[in-house]
């Protein structure tokens, strides 16, 4: 059952022809998904120092921070390993000496929720906390949920308690860990689409969206909900297939290789 609010957001942001368009591009997205996963995996590989689960988590964390535009937030010259978010995550990884905890998704999520609620939020400056206070409250409300959907929500909300994390960064981290590295075997339909400006530009060119969707600070933002609805309509069994658009944007659009692009017949340009 879709709420009235979500329907209104759909009407505001998404194109009326979306369902037809989605049918046309879905096959292409599925075809390119493996390439896209490999493309994004490379970002983590650059930050990997070992192959155990802690190293992979650390790598995913740094890559998520790198890829979701932290440079544009004015932290220009600070190395990622000196960012308070990374130091906090390092503290979290070290707090649990045994890697067994990380092998089980439920235990990992619960430990991260506890750590985020009472440790990580202390590092968020007051001005920033005004953006995430509601999300922290929501996290407190769902912290006892044990169903798979709830666990995903918990993980998403607990990541936003890290000082430099936005909803997009949180979703990217989950994408890396679950889809790229398959640390836990979980259904992809519960993944959410991270925000990328290239993805939205291409979606506009493909006439999937009516108006520009912007990056958001919170999970309750209209722009965030619109992006997730787009993912859900185009590919309900795995909304992150929409990341193929970002992959296409980075490899073909940026280098103006329209002839090689598989979406060129559908693209406005």
């Amino acid at each position: 059952m879709i709420s009235e609010r979500v329907l209104e957001i759909r009407r505001k942001f998404l194109s009326e022809e979306l369902e037809n368009k989605a049918k046309q591009i879905k096959g292409i997205l599925i075809g390119l998904d493996n390439q896209s996963v490999k493309f994004f995996k490379k970002f983590v590989e650059g930050a990997l120092k070992g192959k155990n689960i802690k190293d992979i988590l650390r790598g995913c964390f740094i890559a998520a921070l790198k890829i979701s535009g932290i440079r544009s937030m004015g932290y220009g010259r600070i190395p990622f390993t000196k960012l308070s978010s990374f130091l906090l995550f390092e503290k979290f990884l070290n707090k649990y000496a045994t890697t067994k905890l990380f092998e089980e998704f439920t235990k990992f999520t619960d430990a991260l929720v506890e750590f985020s609620l009472f440790e990580a939020i202390k590092e968020i400056p007051t001005w920033r906390y005004w953006f995430v206070d509601g999300d922290v409250g929501m996290l407190a409300g769902i912290k006892k949920r044990k169903d798979l959907d709830g666990l995903f929500e918990k993980l998403r909300f607990s990541l936003i308690c890290f000082p430099h994390f936005s909803p997009s960064t949180a979703n990217m981290f989950i994408y890396f860990t679950i889809k790229c590295y398959k640390l836990w075997k979980l259904p992809y339909k519960l993944l959410r689409v991270p925000y990328f400006s290239g993805l939205i530009k291409l979606a506009q060119k493909l006439k999937l969206v009516k108006r520009k969707i912007k990056g958001s600070h919170t999970f309750s933002s209209h722009h965030y909900i619109a992006l997730q609805e787009l993912g859900r309509i185009v590919c309900p069994e795995d909304p992150t297939k929409l990341l193929v658009l970002e992959f296409v944007s980075r490899t073909f659009c940026k280098n103006k290789k329209c002839e090689e692009c598989k979406l060129n017949k559908l693209c406005e340009l």
Partner: protein, 559 residues
């Protein structure tokens, strides 16, 4: 050559007294020579008592806010070190320990303040100077251009040789009243007439519709100015005599006189105000030998029912509260209140059919949750109550936090618990936030609950009273309007919450140990101002005519 107040859209003094925090008002009063009036003294008393254990002060000196170095620096400007050596020492220690976390602006402001007060040989100054030099090096490395505001401060600290002072034209191009304010405050020579003319033009052009000015650094736009910008800007205009000093002094004197008259009346009528609410509570079923938990439960139900005053079956909230409690067989046993279905039925019995069922559900859920809290947790002092309530809200109530605003309150409670804040003002604010996390409980209901339980039924120790808010709704807002204390009265009449800070700081200025005394304005609004009948006989108060009619500026205009 000076600017008359009559040329402004809104009297800037009214704006500062309405929207400003204590330090904005105090710095302004100090610059006008009113720093030792009872009004100023009361605000200083408040500031002294709200200092955190670590020496910091909450943002805008409002109880329960996050601490901030800027406010600490402003506090140092207000508090003379000879009079308050301990407090100043603690504040300086806090700043010294937090220099690394502070941004370049705060460090420059601190150094500039220490220089003005000849404290250049202190350890804090030396350490701050070193930190500033490191930060400036980083700026140079990044080839980042220094903002004008920073250049003004650096010139003030290091002198003309190291940093050139920006010219007036450069500042005016920036179009930032905040920067211009600091430029005026640090001016060393007299400003010539053509420059004064330019500034005057700028002052009038950039004034906001709702009064005051807005600075670029804060990046906000809106009908109101912001006190952070307006306060230094106005001080600068006063210092350089661009604004007519005689007029400003006269206006300030009038305002202070009005505040003192309001204070005198409310202090005199304190007992009557208390009795009014006590009588209502007795009508609702309060008896003097009730235990702590019963008192809290009664106040909770009463406040919750009060918000449905438009939907109860024609009786007053206290009568409905009594009906409600009787349906649940009194307050002695909480079992009936814990049962959601019983509470739901009782609510349905007293509310009109027009009330949507989800509203009734939320109210019933709130009562069930609160009674479950009272049933399961043990506490004797306010501190224990607050800490238990915080945990209960995080663990239980958060699941039902009805809207995003409810979740936001839970978010702030979580932050408070994470920092383990135990100062009394933080705990009181947390209780407000906890209450607002309950379904169907908004700010007004939370205010009424705390006011009744702490102030009227004296459930907690005297110290808690210091941080209890006065009641705010359309009644208090309308009284503030009649007293001409608001820059945009119509806006506040529609959204009374916008007048809350004005009312709260008025309460602090009247009595810093009991700001909730400003609830008297609510009572006056209810009995006289709302119906615009200044001479009406009030049955509830047994008084003829409004308490303020001798000095209220609107009394003649009322038909």
């Amino acid at each position: 050559m000076s600017l008359s107040i009559s040329k402004f859209k809104v009297n800037p003094l009214i704006f500062i007294f309405e929207k400003g925090a204590p330090h904005h008002k105090l710095l302004l009063l100090k610059s006008l020579g009113f720093g030792k009036t009872p009004y100023a003294k009361n605000l200083i008393k408040w500031i002294i008592e709200i200092q955190n254990f670590d020496g910091s002060f909450p943002w805008n000196f409002f109880p329960g806010e996050d601490p901030d170095p800027w406010v600490v620096i402003d506090a140092l400007k207000i508090l003379p070190s000879k009079q308050y050596p301990k407090i100043v020492r603690k504040a300086l220690k806090y700043l010294k320990n937090n220099l690394k976390k502070m941004d370049i602006y705060s460090i420059s402001l601190l150094l500039s303040f220490l220089k003005d007060f000849n404290k250049t040989k202190t350890k804090v100054y030396q350490k701050a100077l070193k930190t500033l030099e490191i930060k400036l090096k980083e700026y140079n490395k990044r080839k980042k251009e220094l903002k004008l505001f920073l250049r003004i401060l650096l010139n003030h600290i290091f002198g003309d040789k190291q940093f050139r002072r920006p010219s007036l034209d450069e500042i005016l191009v920036e179009e930032d009243p905040w920067t211009l304010g600091y430029w005026l405050l640090t001016v060393k020579t007299e400003i010539d007439d053509p420059s004064k003319k330019k500034i005057m033009k700028f002052v009038l052009e950039t004034e906001k519709k709702g009064g005051g000015w807005r600075g670029k650094l804060f990046g906000f736009s809106g009908i109101y100015g912001d006190p952070i910008t307006t306060s230094p800007f106005l001080q600068g205009l006063i210092k350089t005599q661009i604004i007519n000093l005689d007029e400003v002094s006269l206006e300030t004197e009038k305002l202070l006189e009005l505040f003192s008259k309001i204070g005198n009346v409310l202090n005199k009528k304190e007992k009557k105000i208390e009795q009014f609410f006590l009588k209502r509570m007795e009508d609702a079923g309060y008896i003097s030998d009730m235990n702590l938990k019963e008192k809290l439960m009664l106040c909770f139900i009463y406040s919750l029912i009060s918000q449905f005053y438009w939907a109860v079956s024609g009786l007053e909230p206290w009568e409905e509260t009594l009906n409600f409690i009787e349906k649940q067989d009194g307050l002695a046993s909480f079992e009936k209140y814990v049962n959601f279905n019983d509470v739901y039925d009782a609510f349905k019995g007293i509310l009109r059919r027009s009330v949507p069922s989800n509203r009734i559900e939320m109210a019933a859920r709130a009562v069930a949750l609160y009674s479950s809290f009272l049933n399961n947790k043990k506490f004797t002092s306010f501190e224990e109550y607050a800490e238990n309530l915080r945990c209960f809200v995080i663990d239980e109530v958060s699941r039902y936090a009805p809207s995003y605003s409810g979740a936001r309150n839970v978010g702030w409670v979580v932050r408070s618990v994470a920092f383990n804040r135990k100062e009394l003002h933080n705990l009181v604010r947390d209780v407000y936030r906890c209450l607002m996390s309950f379904p169907s409980v908004g700010f007004k209901t939370a205010c009424l609950h705390m006011f009744l339980s702490s102030r009227i039924l004296n459930t907690w120790s005297e110290n808690v009273k210091k941080y209890v808010y006065p009641l705010i709704d359309v009644f208090s807002a309308i009284t503030l309007c009649r007293l001409n204390l608001l820059s945009l009265p119509r806006v506040v009449e529609k959204e009374p919450m916008k007048g809350f800070h004005c009312l709260f700081w008025l309460g602090v200025a009247i009595n810093p140990r009991d700001p909730s005394l400003a609830t008297g304005l609510w009572l006056i609004g209810r009995e006289w101002c709302f119906r615009q009948k200044c001479n009406k006989y009030s049955e509830y108060l047994n008084e003829k005519g409004c308490w303020f009619r001798d000095f209220c500026p609107s009394v003649r205009r009322v038909r």
